[in-house]
């Protein structure tokens, strides 16, 4: 079979993994290996460390519009975002039973408090609030983060994972470097030829990688990239090139991404499934691998509303992404009631307005099912870019 001919099967496989709330691939992996599977909430956790100890990291990113929230809503007021209620729903309906624990990285107060609820709701599971440093001095924040990682490693070993081994971690870092490299390459392909890599496909690929062992994830993305590059069926269209930002935790429904594309936008950069790009370049493999992970987090992570902005222009990195991706405009696309994204937004807007970059903004929930208004807004935005921005 040619690379191009494999494209429909690859997309179908990824979509099946993305749509499987019950984590069938994780259950199969556990049956096959007998290893631990540990879930993690979005943005960033040190998957390399888990992998090195024989643990499968499993990305938890809430649900879509096809999961009826019954018990989850009973835990949250109307003014709290949607991802914690769908996560609770999935936990209580048994979908996540195959997980031996969940990591809750320091994203915001909602996810932080969810870690406490999870501890009480699932007392037999391993639960860790992963407090990542907001001080990026290696001797201060780095020291603290290393201790956090050592504590995580010891906890996993106590739960039956393999004990920490530096060589194993080096090998895992190498595997994750390969994964991130192929994802970066895919993003570069989309930047250059967005008609070949629709974001609705790229997105399900990334979501699929969140439930696979890293080598399988890398192979899937590489195969998709090769297939997308080989296909002759896809031709460029007169679309506006946009950068979509703000969707780093609660993910948008796939229908929203398709709506953006159908309304005349090529998404040339985004914040979806951010863990696949959190560390910007290869983590060094030699030397002390744990220290390498710590340093990568401190000095080579992307700018995020969840990270303290120490110095330099706030929004400068977003502006640079706009420039580097040759985006014509920015769509601020944040979940309703998302504190990190929405509190950051005025500063981001100021940074791009200063450079004359057009923008528009709307909010969503992961279970949003009506896209007509968004289609009209995004379509008008794309039209205005094409008509007035000289793009």
């Amino acid at each position: 079979m040619s690379a191009a001919a494999a494209l429909p099967d690859l997309v179908e496989r990824a979509e099946a993994l993305y749509r499987d709330y019950r984590l069938g691939s994780v259950r199969a992996w556990k049956e096959q290996t007998g290893g631990l599977a540990i879930g993690y909430m979005p943005i960033y956790v040190p998957c390399e460390l888990l992998d090195a100890q024989g643990v499968l990291p499993v990305g938890l990113m809430g649900a879509r519009d096809d999961l009826e929230i019954i018990r989850g809503d009973a835990y949250y007021q109307s003014y709290i975002c949607h991802i914690p209620r769908s996560t609770i729903e999935l936990g209580l309906n048994g979908s996540l039973d195959c997980l031996d624990g969940v990591l809750f990285p320091a994203i915001c107060d909602v996810i932080r408090n969810l870690s406490g609820m999870w501890t009480m709701l699932f007392p037999d599971k391993y639960i860790k609030y992963l407090d990542v440093p907001q001080n990026f001095d290696p001797d201060i924040g780095g020291r603290f983060y290393r201790q956090e990682l050592e504590s995580l490693s010891a906890d996993l070993a106590a739960r039956g994972a393999r004990p920490y081994d530096a060589d194993a971690l080096r090998a895992s870092i190498d595997r994750y470097n390969c994964y991130r490299r192929i994802v970066r390459e895919l993003y570069d392909v989309r930047q250059e030829q967005p008609w070949r890599v629709p974001t609705s496909e790229l997105y399900v690929m990334l979501r699929a990688t969140q439930v696979l062992p890293v080598d399988d994830a890398t192979r899937l993305v590489a195969a998709y990239r090769d297939a997308a590059m080989a296909t002759e069926d896809r031709q460029p269209m007169d679309q506006a090139r946009v950068l979509v930002t703000g969707s780093f935790c609660e993910q948008p429904p796939i229908g929203l991404i398709r709506t953006l594309e159908r309304s005349g936008c090529y998404v040339v950069d985004d914040d979806f499934v951010q863990i696949s790009r959190w560390i910007k370049s290869d983590v060094p493999v030699g030397g002390d691998p744990l220290e390498n992970l710590v340093r990568a987090f401190l000095t080579d992570a992307i700018a995020s509303p969840t990270r303290y902005h120490v110095a330099g222009e706030k929004g400068g990195e977003l502006a640079e992404r706009v420039r580097a991706r040759r985006a014509d405009g920015v769509i601020f696309c944040a979940p309703s009631f998302c504190d990190p994204a929405l509190l950051d937004q005025p500063m981001m807007v100021a940074a791009i307005e200063k450079r004359g970059v057009p923008w528009t903004a709307f909010k969503y929930s992961e279970n949003t099912g009506q896209f007509q208004v968004i289609r009209e807004q995004a379509g008008t935005f794309a039209d205005s870019i094409k008509l007035w921005s000289g793009a």
Partner: protein
């Protein structure tokens, strides 16, 4: 329903309130005069505040949260929030932040009608609230002042690990103190800090006595509405000062006298003569309708005997006192121990303990839209505390400083229903 007039007698103002008002007025006078006197100011937050450290550098603290709540009590926040939202701040986010931005854009006039000075430093004590970090990133864009970030790890497991303590102490020693030295032009004086910390411990001792006086029947204090006044000095610019020591000593004597006389708490409409319901309250108050909100309780003879909001600036009733012998470690422990920095299981334990130790008839959650740190998980808290304490919980929703989210009729209706339920349970229990 009980008749409001039956429960409440004459209104008056306690001496402690008069004293506090004078302290605050003097502080704002000093702030207003800062451009002329050359005094330097530090904007900072209530939870995890480092007042003793700031005072040791002669820096005057400004607390934007308190400015916001005072703006709300003066009826200014509708306008301020509207200004911020017109500037692009989302309707979904914290209204303290938007009120502060709106106040800044309106000339930065503080609660006493005087202009607040611009900050010389933004001391970002990132304790128990994610929004704090964004808030000072926003203010940095406005003031271009240096920011001292003190990241305080979260007590998810309800304990302070050596790694957490070491992390905070290192930040204090290697980042915060050198920054304050640069801003103030003064060298760090550890002895001076110790003196302030010793005064803090004295005041904390008296504050705890006052809060625990609510175990008495009738409670001589309201530990939610009334206690926000009591915690004012220690949560803000005065912890570690002689004034605070004097204030809390006087307050303690005042409450002791009320207790001796068998008096109930002071309310906006006078003393509560008949304590009908003893309630533990979780969550911050609404500030736009503070008096009206309080009256809804007082009219029913409902007295808050313990609250968690009065622990956001320090949970002293579990035994913590600032320790002058370990100045940086004690500051770190203080920051780590503030209420909203505690994991949900610990918060549930604390609330359950309050319900039992204060012999409460029930507990009530005021869930505010603005504050995810408090609010996310409160419905879970409700169920757990009910199950553990055997006392019924009530749940109402409002906001900190956005008047659009305070619905008096709705809240009053819910409170009355809740108190009726307590009454029925009491009657049922007696039958």
């Amino acid at each position: 329903m009980t008749q409001p007039s039956r429960a409440i007698s004459h209104a008056n103002k306690d001496e402690s309130q008069v004293r506090q008002k004078a302290m605050i007025a003097r502080h704002f006078d000093e702030l207003a005069a800062a451009p002329e006197t050359g005094a330097k100011t530090a904007y900072t937050f209530v939870p995890g505040n480092l007042t003793e450290l700031l005072l040791s550098f002669d820096l005057l603290p400004v607390l934007p949260e308190i400015n916001s709540l005072q703006s709300a009590m003066r009826g200014k926040t509708a306008e301020y929030i509207s200004i911020a939202e017109k500037l692009g701040h989302s309707e979904d986010v914290c209204t303290y932040v938007k009120s502060d931005i709106g106040m800044l854009k309106s000339g930065n006039i503080g609660p006493t009608g005087q202009r607040l000075p611009d900050p010389d430093v933004l001391l970002l004590s990132y304790t128990g609230c994610f929004t704090f970090m964004k808030w000072f990133e926003l203010l940095r864009e406005e003031y271009h002042a240096p920011v001292g970030m003190l990241h305080v790890p979260y007590q998810s497991d309800g304990r302070i690990t050596p790694a957490m303590l070491d992390y905070v102490v290192r930040q204090l020693r290697e980042a915060i103190i050198p920054l304050l030295e640069r801003v103030s032009g003064r060298a760090f004086d550890e002895d001076r800090l110790r003196q302030h910390l010793a005064r803090s411990a004295q005041a904390e001792e008296d504050l705890v006595w006052v809060l625990q006086s609510a175990k008495h029947r009738p409670s001589p204090i309201d530990a939610y509405f009334g206690a926000v006044y009591y915690v004012g000095p220690i949560f803000s610019a005065f912890r570690g000062t002689d004034e605070a020591v004097g204030y809390y000593r006087a307050l303690r004597a005042e409450i002791a006298e009320r207790m001796r006389q068998g008096k109930g708490p002071v309310t906006p409409d006078g003393d509560i003569d008949q304590e009908r319901y003893r309630i533990v309250v979780e969550g911050p108050p609404n500030w736009t309708n503070f008096r009206q909100f309080w009256q809804m309780f007082a009219a029913e003879g409902a007295v808050a005997v313990a609250s968690t909001y009065t622990k956001v600036g320090g949970v002293y009733d579990l035994g913590f006192r600032h320790d002058p012998e370990r100045p940086l470690e004690t500051l770190a422990e203080y920051c780590l121990g503030c209420y909203t920095n505690l994991g949900l299981p610990t918060r549930i334990d604390l609330l359950t303990r309050y319900v039992k130790e204060y012999a409460a008839d029930g507990f009530l959650i005021n869930s505010v839209k603005s504050c995810n740190s408090f609010s996310a998980g409160q419905l879970h808290i409700l169920r757990e505390v009910e199950a553990r304490s055997g006392r019924p919980g009530g749940f109402i929703e409002s906001d900190l400083v956005d008047p659009r989210y305070f619905s008096p009729a709705n809240i009053k209706n819910r409170l009355e229903s809740y108190f009726q339920m307590l009454e029925q349970k009491r009657l049922g229990g007696a039958a």
